[in-house]
Symmetry: C2
Subunit: 198 residues, 2 copies
DNA sequence: ACAGAAAGTGAACGATCGTGCTCTTTCTGG
DNA sequence: CCAGAAAGAGCACGATCGTTCACTTTCTGT
């Protein structure tokens, strides 16, 4: 049972990239089968249904996100350095790791935000854990620590700049977007770190 | 030829709200026909194809966006007051006008950003004109005027906060998101207005 | 009020959707 | 190396997709 796992991985990868472009629901099993070079019925040896495959895609994307964006930042000391590492890897995730298709998390979020079910729940949970972790880092940015409200507000802006970058570059074709996002984030760190306590 | 235009409007409205929830491609003609209370074939008396209907939806959404977000702000004097009016109406557009479905422009953007064709072009043009107009307002925010690069960077952040608000409230269920967005925008105006010239 | 146009229905089409079935090929543990 | 399991192909199914066409109902200009 070794070869099976390899193809299962290839299926998920192809499905994820197609879903990042066209959306999870818009990708048919025929599309995935063609992309991975299998027959439609062959897919059912790896997933019991289309829903199960979609769920596997969501899980794989979130796991990979943690692996690429959060995990390498953990090697940095808490505080500003770690926040900068997270942001830098987040940019890399959006602009390089998913350069052709765009960030699948943004696609999945807008697609699933009003569609109840396990995929939405999983996405919600993953994003929530990431958000909580980054908020903790923001709190450690200053002495005395930021209040939770201040840190949440800072995360709101950080996440906003990532979303803004995706739209600016992918829809508006703004080549300066990455620079704008980076500058906005650095300025956010500056004024957050040196702000007085409430 | 009076009744026809009315139903055509109802069709577009229903289709737009369905598309804001599930995406443009994911909405079938059967869905629209049911929602508006017509037969599938009846739709073809108002649109020659599904593509034409989708194009009409995009046009209607963008026109309504201009009507609700930009036009009322024109009554305010240029500068900070007008920018605040635009942002306030933009929030209203996202949070009230499309409360149940979420902003259709954000949905359409993530759906069409890597799907060439007339709908994408129309969306790109509409967003580009709006962006250029808001950038002009940012330039008028200070004396001497902001450079174009400074104004573009400010618009980038403004747009980012709107996108951040949508995700925070719709996916994360963050009730404070609207307050966060407003506070972030006011702070952006403050530091932009009193920044020194380059 | 009446004729012609517009609006809308219902059935049917070919294509594609997700899924189950049987059958063959390929792998892998003992 | 061989038997059993896993991986995959091919076909067929009912449902739904977008679209067309012939037909009926409803509106509207004169």
């Amino acid at each position: 049972m070794r070869k099976g796992e390899a193809t299962r991985g290839r299926i998920i990868d192809c499905a994820a990239r197609l879903a990042a472009v066209r959306g999870l629901t818009a990708v048919s099993l025929g599309d995935v089968a063609d992309a991975v070079g299998l027959s439609k019925s062959g897919l059912f040896k790896h997933f019991e249904s289309k829903d199960a495959m979609q769920m596997a895609v969501v899980e794989a994307v979130m796991e990979r996100f943690g692996e690429i964006v959060w995990k390498p930042a953990e090697t940095h000391p808490p505080g500003r350095g770690r926040l900068e590492a997270v942001f830098e890897h987040w940019l890399h995730w959006c602009e390089n790791e998913w350069a052709e298709s765009g960030c699948p998390i943004m696609q999945l979020t807008t697609e699933l935000d009003d569609q109840p079910g396990p995929p939405r729940e999983y996405l919600h949970m993953g994003l929530g854990m990431f958000r909580a972790a980054v908020i903790r880092e923001f709190q450690a940015l200053r002495d005395p620590p930021l209040t939770e409200a201040e840190a949440k507000a800072a995360y709101f802006q950080m996440r906003s700049f990532i979303l803004g970058l995706s739209e600016a570059r992918r829809m508006m074709g703004d080549g300066d977007a990455e620079r704008s996002a980076r500058a906005a984030f650095e300025a956010l760190l500056d004024r957050t770190a040196r702000s007085a306590a409430a």
